[in-house]
Every structure is written in structure tokens, then in C-alpha cells.
Amino acid sequence: MNDLINDLYQEIILDHGREPRNFGECEPHNKSADGHNPLCGDNLKLTFLLNDQNIIEDIKFTGEGCAISLASASLMTEKLKGKKIEVAEEIFKDFTNLVSGSDEELKVLNEEDSLYALKGVGGFPMRVKCATMAWHAFKQALKD
């Protein structure tokens, strides 16, 4: 099997793509946003609860999409739950650098992180949008 494909579809990606974690709507929530990839039609809805200490208490998503977009959303919710907003924003920056094949040094993510499994997306430039859809929805929700 081709290495590129094995890098892109690591077991953890296939697993989260088939059975996304934190799938559903967060109740109650005070932040939400829709993610949409107009090029392919994939979409998701992200909801989360931000408490008064700026900590993400709970975070969930629903939607339909390819294994990469579902796994990325699923792993994102696992990673961000319980994090302070400032930390979450650092993770966002690292993650977008990681999957876009940027040389920028990672500040908070490392090879031990499950999110690191999405690094293989860098070999498929047209799939970067799949991997970042949920993350941009997260950023959008913070703005609204």
C-alpha cells in the first residue's frame, strides 16, 4: 500500500471517521457556528459551552462529511474540552500549521497528540479544507 495513503488514513483517523466522538448538540450551549465546504457540500454544526472562567466545559458537533473532516472534528472536540480559550486558540494555530504543511514551529502540539495523526493531510493540498472545516467553525463561533 502506498505510504501517502497510509499517512493520510492512519487507524485513528479511520476510527474517528467511522465513529465520531462528541457527536450531537451541546445542551445548554452559548456558542455555535456552522462549518461548510462549498466545494464538496460537507457541513457541520458546532456547539459548545463556555463558562465564566473562559473554559470550554462541553463541546459537540453534528454534520456529514468525509473521514478526514469527521475525524478532525471529533479529535478537535476531544482536545478542546476543558481547555481555556487562550490555549484553544494556540492549538488552533498549531493545528492549521500542521495540516497545511507549514514550516512554522509548533508551540503546544507535539507528536504525542492524537491530532498529529492529521499531519498526512499536508500531502493532499486539496484535502486541507476537509481537515480545517471544524476548526474554522470554532474560530467563527468565538467571533459571533
Binding site: L4, L8, L14, L39, C40, G41, E64, A67, I68, R127
Partner: protein, 410 residues
């Protein structure tokens, strides 16, 4: 290998990009001609030659280069006229794309012939480019849009289509060959329009390189297609319209080249076809399209049709035998396009997997979101054929699909 597998137009060598290795080792199998066709050497060389030896603006100067450019541009128009069997060169308008052609008709036909409450008939299988220009009329002017249903085969439901007409129906716009199903339009739809005396526009983006087009025989009032899907350059499109309608409709965009006489009080407009060609046109691209037409004619449409029918049938039957594949639409009047899904595998995964095998297919909604909703899918994978494809490539593709299925269901 049985005899049928020797079928090949032997033109692969004409397309330099097809010798490219994908990921440095895989032979390229290009099954995405419906998105855009590859270009033969003739088109590449001739467009280079234009820039190197003949280039200037068209229809403006009197110097040698202006003459040479104008000659090439107008010669391309003659080629397109013959290609479509239009009555006159005045019926051939160069645009930047087929999309622009549809927008041009929607806007100017409305201006001349329609008002609030008038109706346009479209169908469920239209490409966004044959939906949104009409949505604009609905949103801006209160035009009513009606959509013909489709049958499970992918063909338009003619009875339903027929039932949509009222005395307010002013124009019909349908795809000549569906970019998702690959089904040809039932010509009954055109004869119904004729009977009711309602003009019909055919979106020929997917048909122009795969069927012999004769606009007079078809009896359509408008026909659009794009250069890049017919082995020519991107950035050039063609609008055919009957001289009657094009003469009556107002100009689309204003600018240089489309005027008769201008004073500060007003302007008169040029005769056809210049009336609809404001600004410097995509002249080199038009010439490239003319060369692409020569190229297709050299192969011959009888050969193209025979070749592509055979390969489409072959691929359809192969895919139909596979239990994990769901093909969208039937095999009646199917030409050069097959959309499918692997059960439980998203089309993106299929496309990325095939990519590293050297196989280029399209994945997504194919600019047909309403149709995807109707099919109950989020996206499909699509393979589409051109003159350079072969049955052997289909075999390799089928083998790769089995590997793909195995990989994602491991």
C-alpha cells in the same frame, strides 16, 4: 485479452500531459474530462504561435498584426459555425465561458421578453450555472421558476415537464447531457417547446465534445458550450442563438467593440455578433478552440462517439457487477459519464485513494447540490471519458476500486 479491448483511437500521444507520472511513478489515467478536457499538442502549439508571431488586438487597428489576429479570431468563428451547423456566423457569440452565455441569455431575454410573474422551466439535474442565472431573475424581478422532475434512470420526466407549461412560460433551459448522470436529453423535450412556441436553451457543456451537434436539426434556440471541455483553452465559451432572437434582445455588457456610433448623449450598437462582444475578447483562446474543433474533426465524430459509447458501456457493466458500488442513473442514452458511490465510503476518500494510484476522478457535488439532495447523497464520485481513454484504463480503475473498498473496510 478479448478483441474488444484493442479499441483505442490511438491519440494518447497527442496529449503531452498524459505522459506525466503521478507521484513520480504512476502512469496518469485521466477520468475527469467532464470537469475539463486535456489539451492536444495542436492546441498548445497554435496558441503559443499566436502569441509569438501574430498577436495584437482584434478588429481595431489596421496594421499587419491586427489583420493577422482578426483573421484568426474570425476564422475560429467560422469553424464554430460549421461545428454547430449554425445558419450564419452572426449566430455565434464568443463569451468567456458557457456560464457567461447563460447569464447573457437570462439577463437580455428577460429585458426584452419578460416581466414579473412570467415563468421559466428548468430541471432538477441542472448544473449550478444553469440555475443561478435564473435564480437572479427570480430574486430581482419576481420571475417564477419551475423544475422538471427526473426519473430514476436520470432522464427528465417528460410528462411532468410537459405539465409545467402555462401561458406565462417564456423560456426553457435544460442540460443537453447531464454532468452527473451522463444522460442525453430526450429530444421530445425540444419538440414540446417547439409545439408550444417557447424558446429553449440547451446547455451543451457536456455534449459538445461527445455528440455531433447540429443546432438546426436539434431545433434549439440557444446553445452554449465551453472551450475547455472540448479540448480547447479555458477562458473561451460559445453562445449560439438564432439571429431573430439575438437581434431583438438588447446588448449584455457595454464597452469597446460593441458600438455603432457614440456621442455623449448616447450610442447605437454594433450588428451581430459584435453587439454581444464588449471589450477585448479572449482572442487567442478563440483561435485555440478553433484548433480543438479541427482536432476533433480530424478524429471524426463517428469515431469519437463509437469509442466513447463502447468505453462507457464497458465501464458501466464492470461497475454494475460490483456489489459495493451504487451507480446513479441507468444505462439508457448514457454518454461518457458515470457517477457512483462505494457504499459507506465518502467520495473524497475514493478520489484521494485513486489519486495515489495515478487515477484522476472527480468527487463532490458536481455543482449540482439540488440533485445531490434528491439522490439522498452528500456527494458522488464521477468518472468521465475522453478520446484518450482506453478499456485497459477502466480495468486498472476497477482493480483500484477493489483495493480502495478493502482499505476503508479493513
Amino acid at each position: 485479452m478479448d478483441d474488444s479491448k484493442t479499441l483505442n483511437l490511438n491519440v494518447r500521444k497527442d496529449f503531452p500531459i498524459l505522459s506525466k507520472k503521478i507521484l513520480e511513478k504512476r502512469d496518469l489515467i485521466y477520468f475527469d474530462t467532464a470537469a475539463s478536457a486535456q489539451k492536444p499538442n495542436a492546441v498548445i502549439d497554435e496558441t503559443n504561435d499566436f502569441y509569438k508571431n501574430h498577436y495584437s488586438n482584434v478588429s481595431r487597428g489596421v496594421h499587419t498584426l491586427s489583420v493577422e489576429s482578426t483573421f484568426r479570431y474570425e476564422d475560429a468563428r467560422k469553424k464554430v459555425q460549421k461545428f454547430l451547423n449554425a445558419r450564419s456566423e452572426n449566430e455565434i457569440i464568443f463569451t468567456k465561458s458557457a456560464t457567461e452565455g447563460i447569464n447573457l441569455v437570462a439577463q437580455t431575454f428577460y429585458e426584452k421578453f419578460m416581466q414579473k410573474g412570467d415563468e421559466v422551466i428548468l430541471s432538477l439535474i441542472e448544473h449550478h450555472s444553469n440555475l443561478i442565472p435564473w435564480f437572479f431573475l427570480r430574486d430581482k424581478y419576481g420571475v417564477v421558476l419551475k423544475f422538471a422532475n427526473i426519473q430514476p434512470s436520470g432522464e427528465i420526466d417528460i410528462d411532468h415537464f410537459n405539465s409545467l407549461f402555462t401561458n406565462k412560460t417564456k423560456i426553457v433551459s435544460l442540460t443537453h447531457l447531464s454532468n452527473v448522470f451522463g444522460t442525453e436529453l430526450d429530444e421530445k423535450a425540444i419538440s414540446i417547446c417547439k409545439d408550444k412556441n417557447v424558446p429553449i436553451l440547451l446547455d451543451g457543456c457536456q455534449s459538445a465534445a461527445h455528440l455531433k451537434i447540429d443546432v438546426q436539426k436539434l431545433g434549439c434556440d440557444f446553445f452554449v458550450f465551453s472551450g475547455h471541455k472540448t479540448y480547447g483553452p479555458a477562458g473561451i465559451g460559445v453562445l449560439y442563438g438564432t439571429e431573430n432572437l439575438l437581434s431583438e434582445m438588447p446588448p449584455y455588457q457595454g464597452g469597446g467593440g460593441m458600438i455603432g456610433d457614440v456621442s455623449l448623449e448616447g450610442a447605437s450598437y454594433a450588428e451581430l455578433p459584435a453587439k454581444y462582444e464588449a471589450g477585448t475578447p479572449p482572442l487567442v483562446e478563440a483561435h485555440g478552440l478553433g484548433i480543438a474543433i479541427d482536432y476533433m474533426n480530424k478524429i471524426g465524430f463517428d469515431n469519437i462517439i463509437k469509442h466513447e459509447n463502447e468505453i462507457t458501456k464497458y465501464a458501466f457493466n464492470k461497475l454494475n457487477e460490483i456489489d459495493f458500488i451504487e451507480i446513479h442513473g441507468g444505462d439508457n442514452k448514457r454518454n461518457s459519464i458515470i457517477s457512483f458511490n462505494i457504499k459507506n465510503v465518502h467520495s473524497h476518500e475514493v478520489s484521494s485513494f485513486l489519486d495515489v494510484e495515478g487515477i484522476a476522478i472527480r468527487a463532490g457535488h458536481h455543482c449540482c447540490q439540488p440533485l445531490m439532495k434528491h439522490l439522498g447523497v452528500n456527494s458522488t464520485a464521477r468518472l468521465s471519458f475522453g478520446v484518450y481513454n482506453s478499456l485497459e484504463e477502466v480495468d486498472k480503475f476497477v482493480t483500484a476500486l477493489h483495493k480502495c473498498k478493502e482499505f476503508f473496510n479493513k
